[in-house]
Symmetry: C2
Amino acid sequence: MCKMYNAEILTIGNELLNGRTVNTNATHIASKLTLLGFTVRRITTVGDNLKDIHDAVKEILSRNPMLLVTSGGLGPTYDDMTVEGVANALNLKIELNKEAYSEILEKYRSRGLQLTEERLKMAMLPVGAIAIRNEVGIAPGVLISLPGTDILLTPGVPREMESILEKYLKEYLRFKPDIYYYEEFFTVKGVMESELAPFIKRLVKETNIYIKTHPKGHETLSPSLEIQVSANGKTKDEAVYKVKSAIEEIKNKVKSMGGVVV
Amino acid sequence: MCKMYNAEILTIGNELLNGRTVNTNATHIASKLTLLGFTVRRITTVGDNLKDIHDAVKEILSRNPMLLVTSGGLGPTYDDMTVEGVANALNLKIELNKEAYSEILEKYRSRGLQLTEERLKMAMLPVGAIAIRNEVGIAPGVLISLPGTDILLTPGVPREMESILEKYLKEYLRFKPDIYYYEEFFTVKGVMESELAPFIKRLVKETNIYIKTHPKGHETLSPSLEIQVSANGKTKDEAVYKVKSAIEEIKNKVKSMGGVVV
């Protein structure tokens, strides 16, 4: 039922591949899209490498997501090559984008600075792309609308990515999922994950909701489980009802097994 | 030069795709492998979904990495399906693994517990796989050695993943890179990223090292850059020398531009 609203995320940067930076950008984007009703099917991270960006974009588009959000590689330095990699994958030429140009010109001019080749690079966008104004930094976001798929490029600096993603979701989103997503978490102690597993398996089969148990303590010595219950619904009420009913059933089961709901 | 030591990471779990959990496991694995001299080329995240795991593993193996480390999906619950997904991708049958069986049996027995179907599942491994003992939890790690590629499956619980990865790197690693990796970071203020970019570009071209500037402040209002310099070398001394020489050059350039090295 959610195939129509599949989304993917592509994060770009060597610092993510060498373990220097935790990929909180992917988490933020994933969270925002999930709450809107999208199903994020895959997150891919590649380095600042033209071929790897090109290949990843081609592969992602072959899976036909409705939305691809990328983060990283939009800045002025030699290793910022997301625009070029995406344009190559789409066979699009790169040209000076008027809106991006005036945005960048204005930002540097207001500081009394010239537009060098490196700065101008941030205004060179794929033909037909829309520049989304960056309210907290320089490099604009880039929106490429293909039939059935939107591709949104955002910078790697977290607050710039967040600001442009927010602007896209509010002002540019073409396809708004008509499903609602709801989730709740709770913690139980004194029941082992493996002990609860058959019950959870049956409940998921019967109710078509999603339940995940996250073990926090030691499985046999001091079992503690955080339990996540989530569901989609055609209305918000439907999603909430599904989740709350399942939680009641799980809590009753845990208590009957001698466990404690925290 | 590093193609021989390419590595990839596959993290599995819906909680990573819906934004509930920050993927610190990928960062930890990436950091450990990089320090050993591997080049992590790609990190992929998919959900608890047999087809997606299967597809991701097939795609990764088609790129011939020397090492693939996965994390997540090894536990006793219905949505733990990494072993099955990987076995499907490799056309391997799953069988009861004797070492895994006695490890799991011992852990539950010592608590006076029986081996249920869900618990036994953690001992069902691909034919020919090696079980790597889990010193801090239940589900053992799984090592599958193919010609030219090792596949290491680790659990999703961070301290279990860390412990099994450590054990693998110390006791089982087949191919130890004979290259050394070294990196340093420093911060400069008062110089814009776009202003420094042409110099960095030239330096990277001339020296074959890796330099990345991470903007921390606002590009034009209060520029602050963390600069990362890293290099590989055939000896540790060579790697260190390359990095330190480049840092000297950058610091001199920053000062000549009116910037400050913090």
